[in-house]
Symmetry: C3
Subunit: 139 residues, 3 copies
Protein backbone atom coordinates (compact mmCIF):
# COMPACT_ATOMS: atom_id res chain seq x y z
CA UNK A 1 0.00 0.00 0.00
CA UNK A 2 1.26 3.46 -0.91
CA UNK A 3 0.57 6.95 0.34
CA UNK A 4 0.89 10.21 -1.58
CA UNK A 5 0.12 13.79 -0.63
CA UNK A 6 0.22 17.29 -2.07
CA UNK A 7 -0.53 20.66 -0.53
CA UNK A 8 -2.13 23.32 -2.69
CA UNK A 9 -2.98 27.00 -2.28
CA UNK A 10 -6.34 28.27 -3.48
CA UNK A 11 -7.01 31.99 -3.86
CA UNK A 12 -10.65 32.69 -3.03
CA UNK A 13 -12.55 35.80 -4.11
CA UNK A 14 -14.67 36.13 -0.99
CA UNK A 15 -17.75 34.27 0.21
CA UNK A 16 -18.83 31.51 -2.14
CA UNK A 17 -18.04 28.03 -3.40
CA UNK A 18 -15.20 26.95 -5.70
CA UNK A 19 -15.28 23.63 -7.56
CA UNK A 20 -12.09 21.69 -6.71
CA UNK A 21 -13.12 18.39 -8.31
CA UNK A 22 -10.77 18.92 -11.26
CA UNK A 23 -7.59 19.80 -9.31
CA UNK A 24 -8.23 16.96 -6.83
CA UNK A 25 -8.75 14.41 -9.61
CA UNK A 26 -5.41 15.56 -11.08
CA UNK A 27 -3.67 14.92 -7.76
CA UNK A 28 -5.21 11.44 -7.57
CA UNK A 29 -3.94 10.78 -11.11
CA UNK A 30 -0.42 11.93 -10.14
CA UNK A 31 -0.50 9.61 -7.10
CA UNK A 32 -0.70 6.60 -9.46
CA UNK A 33 -2.90 4.93 -6.85
CA UNK A 34 -5.73 2.99 -8.50
CA UNK A 35 -7.85 1.87 -5.53
CA UNK A 36 -8.07 3.33 -2.05
CA UNK A 37 -9.12 6.58 -0.39
CA UNK A 38 -8.55 10.29 -0.99
CA UNK A 39 -8.75 12.70 1.96
CA UNK A 40 -8.90 16.46 1.33
CA UNK A 41 -8.26 18.77 4.28
CA UNK A 42 -8.51 22.55 4.63
CA UNK A 43 -6.11 24.12 7.16
CA UNK A 44 -8.48 26.96 8.20
CA UNK A 45 -11.48 27.61 10.47
CA UNK A 46 -13.38 30.05 8.27
CA UNK A 47 -13.42 28.03 5.06
CA UNK A 48 -14.65 24.46 4.68
CA UNK A 49 -15.30 21.61 2.28
CA UNK A 50 -18.57 20.17 1.03
CA UNK A 51 -19.73 17.57 -1.43
CA UNK A 52 -22.59 19.20 -3.28
CA UNK A 53 -24.82 18.88 -6.31
CA UNK A 54 -22.76 20.06 -9.29
CA UNK A 55 -25.33 20.68 -12.04
CA UNK A 56 -27.53 23.65 -11.11
CA UNK A 57 -25.67 26.57 -9.61
CA UNK A 58 -28.86 27.67 -7.85
CA UNK A 59 -28.16 24.83 -5.39
CA UNK A 60 -25.03 26.59 -4.13
CA UNK A 61 -26.83 29.95 -4.21
CA UNK A 62 -29.62 28.44 -2.06
CA UNK A 63 -27.07 26.88 0.33
CA UNK A 64 -25.53 30.33 0.74
CA UNK A 65 -28.93 31.87 1.42
CA UNK A 66 -29.76 29.12 3.91
CA UNK A 67 -26.52 29.62 5.83
CA UNK A 68 -26.91 33.41 5.80
CA UNK A 69 -30.29 32.96 7.49
CA UNK A 70 -29.05 30.28 9.91
CA UNK A 71 -25.92 32.13 11.07
CA UNK A 72 -26.42 35.77 10.08
CA UNK A 73 -23.52 38.18 9.84
CA UNK A 74 -23.53 40.62 12.72
CA UNK A 75 -25.84 38.50 14.90
CA UNK A 76 -26.11 40.19 18.30
CA UNK A 77 -25.73 36.79 19.94
CA UNK A 78 -22.00 36.90 19.19
CA UNK A 79 -19.25 38.38 21.38
CA UNK A 80 -16.41 37.45 18.99
CA UNK A 81 -16.80 40.50 16.75
CA UNK A 82 -13.33 42.06 16.66
CA UNK A 83 -12.48 40.42 13.33
CA UNK A 84 -15.65 41.62 11.63
CA UNK A 85 -19.35 40.70 11.49
CA UNK A 86 -18.68 37.76 9.12
CA UNK A 87 -15.96 36.07 11.21
CA UNK A 88 -18.00 34.25 13.87
CA UNK A 89 -20.60 33.10 11.29
CA UNK A 90 -17.66 31.74 9.27
CA UNK A 91 -16.47 29.63 12.21
CA UNK A 92 -20.03 28.33 12.68
CA UNK A 93 -20.39 27.46 8.99
CA UNK A 94 -17.07 25.59 9.15
CA UNK A 95 -18.12 23.61 12.22
CA UNK A 96 -21.46 22.68 10.60
CA UNK A 97 -19.82 21.50 7.38
CA UNK A 98 -16.46 19.71 6.89
CA UNK A 99 -12.76 20.40 7.32
CA UNK A 100 -11.98 17.07 5.66
CA UNK A 101 -13.66 14.89 3.05
CA UNK A 102 -12.75 11.24 2.47
CA UNK A 103 -13.75 9.79 -0.90
CA UNK A 104 -13.12 6.30 -2.31
CA UNK A 105 -10.63 6.02 -5.17
CA UNK A 106 -11.48 3.51 -7.92
CA UNK A 107 -9.74 3.05 -11.29
CA UNK A 108 -7.41 5.95 -10.50
CA UNK A 109 -10.10 8.53 -9.77
CA UNK A 110 -12.18 9.82 -6.85
CA UNK A 111 -15.30 7.73 -7.27
CA UNK A 112 -17.78 10.61 -7.04
CA UNK A 113 -21.46 10.11 -7.75
CA UNK A 114 -22.80 11.60 -11.01
CA UNK A 115 -24.00 14.79 -9.28
CA UNK A 116 -21.27 15.10 -6.63
CA UNK A 117 -18.72 17.89 -6.86
CA UNK A 118 -16.04 18.76 -4.28
CA UNK A 119 -16.31 22.43 -3.26
CA UNK A 120 -14.17 24.71 -1.16
CA UNK A 121 -16.53 27.06 0.65
CA UNK A 122 -15.02 30.44 1.50
CA UNK A 123 -17.07 31.92 4.32
CA UNK A 124 -15.35 35.30 4.72
CA UNK A 125 -16.38 38.22 2.53
CA UNK A 126 -12.83 39.14 1.63
CA UNK A 127 -10.51 37.14 -0.65
CA UNK A 128 -8.17 34.71 1.12
CA UNK A 129 -5.33 32.32 0.39
CA UNK A 130 -6.47 28.87 1.55
CA UNK A 131 -4.14 25.90 2.00
CA UNK A 132 -5.38 22.37 1.44
CA UNK A 133 -3.65 19.00 1.73
CA UNK A 134 -4.82 16.11 -0.42
CA UNK A 135 -3.72 12.64 0.75
CA UNK A 136 -4.24 9.53 -1.38
CA UNK A 137 -3.63 6.03 -0.07
CA UNK A 138 -4.13 2.59 -1.50
CA UNK A 139 -2.69 0.26 -4.11
Amino acid sequence: MAIYSESIQIATRGRGTLDLSGPIQEIVARSEIAHGLCTSFVHHTSASLILCENADEDVRRDLEAFMARLAPDGDRLFRHTAEGPDDMPSHIRSVLTQSSLTIPVAHGRCDLGTWQGIYLWEHRHGPHQRRLTITVLGD
Copy 2:
Protein backbone atom coordinates in the same frame (compact mmCIF):
# COMPACT_ATOMS: atom_id res chain seq x y z
CA MET B 1 -1.24 -3.26 5.64
CA ALA B 2 -4.18 -4.36 3.50
CA ILE B 3 -7.10 -2.57 1.90
CA TYR B 4 -10.50 -4.01 1.01
CA SER B 5 -13.63 -2.44 -0.44
CA GLU B 6 -17.15 -3.34 -1.48
CA SER B 7 -19.89 -1.29 -3.10
CA ILE B 8 -23.48 -1.96 -2.11
CA GLN B 9 -26.88 -0.77 -3.31
CA ILE B 10 -29.52 0.14 -0.76
CA ALA B 11 -33.16 0.57 -1.77
CA THR B 12 -34.73 3.28 0.37
CA ARG B 13 -38.46 3.72 0.92
CA GLY B 14 -38.46 7.50 1.03
CA ARG B 15 -37.46 9.95 3.74
CA GLY B 16 -36.13 8.27 6.86
CA THR B 17 -33.20 6.43 8.39
CA LEU B 18 -32.04 2.88 7.68
CA ASP B 19 -29.72 1.02 10.07
CA LEU B 20 -26.67 -0.17 8.10
CA SER B 21 -24.61 -1.30 11.10
CA GLY B 22 -25.24 -4.99 10.34
CA PRO B 23 -24.32 -4.96 6.62
CA ILE B 24 -21.23 -2.83 7.31
CA GLN B 25 -20.05 -5.16 10.09
CA GLU B 26 -20.42 -8.06 7.63
CA ILE B 27 -18.20 -6.27 5.11
CA VAL B 28 -15.58 -5.64 7.80
CA ALA B 29 -15.71 -9.36 8.67
CA ARG B 30 -15.23 -10.31 5.00
CA SER B 31 -12.23 -7.95 4.77
CA GLU B 32 -10.41 -10.14 7.32
CA ILE B 33 -8.81 -6.95 8.66
CA ALA B 34 -8.57 -7.01 12.45
CA HIS B 35 -7.34 -3.50 13.30
CA GLY B 36 -7.57 -0.32 11.28
CA LEU B 37 -10.26 1.97 9.90
CA CYS B 38 -13.54 1.54 8.03
CA THR B 39 -14.80 4.38 5.80
CA SER B 40 -18.37 4.32 4.49
CA PHE B 41 -19.24 6.68 1.65
CA VAL B 42 -22.56 7.50 -0.03
CA HIS B 43 -22.34 8.51 -3.71
CA HIS B 44 -25.30 10.95 -3.63
CA THR B 45 -26.15 14.52 -2.59
CA SER B 46 -29.65 13.95 -1.27
CA ALA B 47 -28.92 11.06 1.09
CA SER B 48 -26.30 11.03 3.83
CA LEU B 49 -24.76 9.06 6.68
CA ILE B 50 -24.99 9.62 10.42
CA LEU B 51 -23.87 7.91 13.58
CA CYS B 52 -26.88 8.06 15.87
CA GLU B 53 -28.32 6.66 19.07
CA ASN B 54 -29.65 3.18 18.24
CA ALA B 55 -31.95 2.32 21.16
CA ASP B 56 -35.01 4.60 21.12
CA GLU B 57 -36.48 5.16 17.69
CA ASP B 58 -37.95 8.45 18.89
CA VAL B 59 -34.41 9.84 18.56
CA ARG B 60 -34.50 9.43 14.78
CA ARG B 61 -38.12 10.67 14.68
CA ASP B 62 -37.01 13.80 16.59
CA LEU B 63 -34.01 14.28 14.28
CA GLU B 64 -36.39 14.15 11.33
CA ALA B 65 -38.70 16.71 12.97
CA PHE B 66 -35.73 18.94 13.77
CA MET B 67 -34.45 18.88 10.19
CA ALA B 68 -37.95 19.47 8.78
CA ARG B 69 -38.14 22.62 10.88
CA LEU B 70 -34.58 23.71 10.08
CA ALA B 71 -34.78 23.20 6.29
CA PRO B 72 -38.49 23.03 5.46
CA ASP B 73 -39.72 21.52 2.21
CA GLY B 74 -40.96 24.20 -0.17
CA ASP B 75 -39.16 27.04 1.66
CA ARG B 76 -39.64 30.22 -0.40
CA LEU B 77 -35.97 31.04 0.15
CA PHE B 78 -35.05 28.43 -2.48
CA ARG B 79 -34.74 28.93 -6.25
CA HIS B 80 -33.74 25.32 -6.98
CA THR B 81 -37.30 23.97 -7.08
CA ALA B 82 -37.54 22.19 -10.45
CA GLU B 83 -36.90 18.78 -8.90
CA GLY B 84 -39.57 19.19 -6.24
CA PRO B 85 -40.02 20.95 -2.87
CA ASP B 86 -37.97 18.30 -1.03
CA ASP B 87 -34.89 18.42 -3.29
CA MET B 88 -33.10 21.54 -2.03
CA PRO B 89 -33.80 20.66 1.63
CA SER B 90 -32.26 17.25 0.85
CA HIS B 91 -29.05 18.86 -0.39
CA ILE B 92 -28.93 21.02 2.75
CA ARG B 93 -29.48 18.03 5.04
CA SER B 94 -26.65 16.20 3.24
CA VAL B 95 -24.26 19.12 3.61
CA LEU B 96 -25.09 19.46 7.34
CA THR B 97 -24.53 15.74 8.01
CA GLN B 98 -21.98 13.35 6.44
CA SER B 99 -21.21 11.81 3.07
CA SER B 100 -18.53 9.67 4.69
CA LEU B 101 -18.01 8.14 8.13
CA THR B 102 -14.67 6.80 9.34
CA ILE B 103 -14.81 4.36 12.26
CA PRO B 104 -11.96 2.48 13.96
CA VAL B 105 -11.82 -1.29 13.41
CA ALA B 106 -10.78 -3.42 16.41
CA HIS B 107 -10.87 -7.20 16.75
CA GLY B 108 -12.39 -7.50 13.28
CA ARG B 109 -15.35 -5.17 13.87
CA CYS B 110 -16.24 -1.48 13.63
CA ASP B 111 -15.57 -0.37 17.20
CA LEU B 112 -18.88 1.44 17.69
CA GLY B 113 -19.91 2.76 21.09
CA THR B 114 -22.72 0.91 22.87
CA TRP B 115 -25.38 3.33 21.59
CA GLN B 116 -23.88 4.12 18.17
CA GLY B 117 -25.58 2.87 15.03
CA ILE B 118 -24.62 3.67 11.43
CA TYR B 119 -27.61 5.06 9.52
CA LEU B 120 -28.25 5.91 5.91
CA TRP B 121 -30.54 8.92 5.88
CA GLU B 122 -32.74 9.18 2.80
CA HIS B 123 -33.82 12.80 2.48
CA ARG B 124 -36.11 12.56 -0.57
CA HIS B 125 -39.75 11.57 -0.11
CA GLY B 126 -39.66 9.02 -2.91
CA PRO B 127 -37.85 5.67 -2.81
CA HIS B 128 -34.33 5.65 -4.29
CA GLN B 129 -31.51 3.26 -5.09
CA ARG B 130 -28.46 4.51 -3.15
CA ARG B 131 -24.92 3.33 -3.79
CA LEU B 132 -22.38 3.15 -0.97
CA THR B 133 -18.74 2.11 -0.91
CA ILE B 134 -17.25 0.62 2.25
CA THR B 135 -13.45 0.66 2.47
CA VAL B 136 -11.54 -1.17 5.21
CA LEU B 137 -7.83 -0.76 5.75
CA GLY B 138 -5.41 -2.06 8.33
CA ASP B 139 -3.72 -5.25 9.41
Copy 3:
Protein backbone atom coordinates in the same frame (compact mmCIF):
# COMPACT_ATOMS: atom_id res chain seq x y z
CA MET C 1 3.04 1.80 5.59
CA ALA C 2 2.33 1.47 9.33
CA ILE C 3 -0.75 1.88 11.48
CA TYR C 4 -0.89 2.79 15.17
CA SER C 5 -3.81 3.40 17.51
CA GLU C 6 -4.53 4.34 21.10
CA SER C 7 -7.79 4.65 23.01
CA ILE C 8 -8.07 7.32 25.66
CA GLN C 9 -10.65 8.26 28.30
CA ILE C 10 -11.52 11.91 28.81
CA ALA C 11 -13.44 13.07 31.87
CA THR C 12 -15.68 15.98 30.91
CA ARG C 13 -17.14 18.47 33.36
CA GLY C 14 -20.45 18.96 31.59
CA ARG C 15 -21.42 20.96 28.52
CA GLY C 16 -18.48 22.69 26.89
CA THR C 17 -15.37 22.20 24.78
CA LEU C 18 -12.06 20.63 25.80
CA ASP C 19 -8.87 21.19 23.81
CA LEU C 20 -7.42 17.80 22.85
CA SER C 21 -4.76 19.08 20.45
CA GLY C 22 -1.96 18.40 22.94
CA PRO C 23 -2.88 14.79 23.85
CA ILE C 24 -3.50 13.94 20.18
CA GLN C 25 -0.15 15.40 19.10
CA GLU C 26 1.50 13.23 21.78
CA ILE C 27 -0.15 10.11 20.35
CA VAL C 28 1.03 11.04 16.86
CA ALA C 29 4.56 11.44 18.27
CA ARG C 30 4.39 8.00 19.95
CA SER C 31 3.22 6.46 16.64
CA GLU C 32 6.60 7.40 15.10
CA ILE C 33 4.75 8.00 11.84
CA ALA C 34 6.11 11.03 10.02
CA HIS C 35 3.69 11.46 7.09
CA GLY C 36 0.14 10.21 6.70
CA LEU C 37 -3.23 10.74 8.36
CA CYS C 38 -4.56 10.88 11.91
CA THR C 39 -8.21 9.97 12.59
CA SER C 40 -9.78 10.78 15.95
CA PHE C 41 -13.08 9.11 16.80
CA VAL C 42 -15.47 9.56 19.74
CA HIS C 43 -17.46 6.46 20.72
CA HIS C 44 -20.58 8.37 21.87
CA THR C 45 -23.69 10.05 20.45
CA SER C 46 -23.94 13.00 22.85
CA ALA C 47 -20.38 14.28 22.56
CA SER C 48 -18.59 15.17 19.34
CA LEU C 49 -15.42 16.54 17.79
CA ILE C 50 -14.77 19.85 16.07
CA LEU C 51 -11.86 21.72 14.59
CA CYS C 52 -12.27 25.27 15.85
CA GLU C 53 -10.50 28.58 16.20
CA ASN C 54 -8.12 28.24 19.17
CA ALA C 55 -7.18 31.83 20.05
CA ASP C 56 -10.23 33.67 21.41
CA GLU C 57 -12.32 31.66 23.82
CA ASP C 58 -15.35 33.77 22.92
CA VAL C 59 -15.51 31.74 19.70
CA ARG C 60 -16.38 28.57 21.63
CA ARG C 61 -18.73 30.55 23.90
CA ASP C 62 -20.51 31.88 20.79
CA LEU C 63 -20.67 28.40 19.26
CA GLU C 64 -22.31 27.17 22.46
CA ALA C 65 -24.81 30.05 22.36
CA PHE C 66 -25.54 29.37 18.70
CA MET C 67 -26.21 25.67 19.31
CA ALA C 68 -28.35 26.42 22.37
CA ARG C 69 -30.55 28.62 20.17
CA LEU C 70 -30.57 26.14 17.26
CA ALA C 71 -31.41 23.03 19.31
CA PRO C 72 -32.77 24.30 22.64
CA ASP C 73 -32.90 22.08 25.70
CA GLY C 74 -36.45 21.03 26.48
CA ASP C 75 -37.77 21.88 22.99
CA ARG C 76 -41.41 20.75 22.83
CA LEU C 77 -40.72 19.32 19.37
CA PHE C 78 -38.95 16.36 21.00
CA ARG C 79 -40.51 13.08 22.18
CA HIS C 80 -37.22 11.56 23.36
CA THR C 81 -37.25 13.24 26.78
CA ALA C 82 -36.85 10.36 29.26
CA GLU C 83 -33.12 10.97 29.62
CA GLY C 84 -33.50 14.67 30.33
CA PRO C 85 -34.14 17.91 28.44
CA ASP C 86 -30.50 18.09 27.23
CA ASP C 87 -30.31 14.56 25.77
CA MET C 88 -32.07 14.96 22.42
CA PRO C 89 -30.33 18.32 21.75
CA SER C 90 -27.05 16.49 22.45
CA HIS C 91 -27.80 13.91 19.77
CA ILE C 92 -28.66 16.69 17.32
CA ARG C 93 -25.45 18.61 18.10
CA SER C 94 -23.47 15.39 17.54
CA VAL C 95 -25.14 14.72 14.19
CA LEU C 96 -24.51 18.32 13.04
CA THR C 97 -20.82 18.20 14.00
CA GLN C 98 -18.36 15.27 13.80
CA SER C 99 -17.81 11.88 15.37
CA SER C 100 -14.49 11.60 13.58
CA LEU C 101 -11.86 14.05 12.35
CA THR C 102 -9.16 13.13 9.84
CA ILE C 103 -6.11 15.39 9.77
CA PRO C 104 -2.93 15.11 7.67
CA VAL C 105 0.27 14.18 9.50
CA ALA C 106 3.46 15.91 8.35
CA HIS C 107 6.90 15.86 9.99
CA GLY C 108 5.52 13.73 12.83
CA ARG C 109 2.67 16.06 13.81
CA CYS C 110 -0.97 16.70 12.93
CA ASP C 111 -0.59 19.45 10.35
CA LEU C 112 -3.14 21.84 11.86
CA GLY C 113 -3.54 25.37 10.57
CA THR C 114 -2.28 28.17 12.79
CA TRP C 115 -5.72 28.77 14.33
CA GLN C 116 -7.03 25.19 14.29
CA GLY C 117 -7.51 23.33 17.57
CA ILE C 118 -9.06 19.88 18.05
CA TYR C 119 -11.91 20.04 20.57
CA LEU C 120 -14.04 17.42 22.27
CA TRP C 121 -17.49 18.94 22.69
CA GLU C 122 -19.45 17.56 25.62
CA HIS C 123 -23.12 18.25 24.95
CA ARG C 124 -24.66 16.89 28.20
CA HIS C 125 -24.87 19.11 31.26
CA GLY C 126 -23.47 16.45 33.57
CA PRO C 127 -19.86 15.23 33.64
CA HIS C 128 -19.14 12.10 31.57
CA GLN C 129 -16.35 9.68 30.80
CA ARG C 130 -15.79 9.80 27.04
CA ARG C 131 -13.77 7.22 25.11
CA LEU C 132 -11.84 8.22 21.99
CA THR C 133 -9.69 6.21 19.61
CA ILE C 134 -6.86 7.91 17.75
CA THR C 135 -5.55 6.06 14.69
CA VAL C 136 -2.42 7.17 12.84
CA LEU C 137 -1.34 5.66 9.54
CA GLY C 138 1.44 6.41 7.11
CA ASP C 139 5.18 6.07 6.76
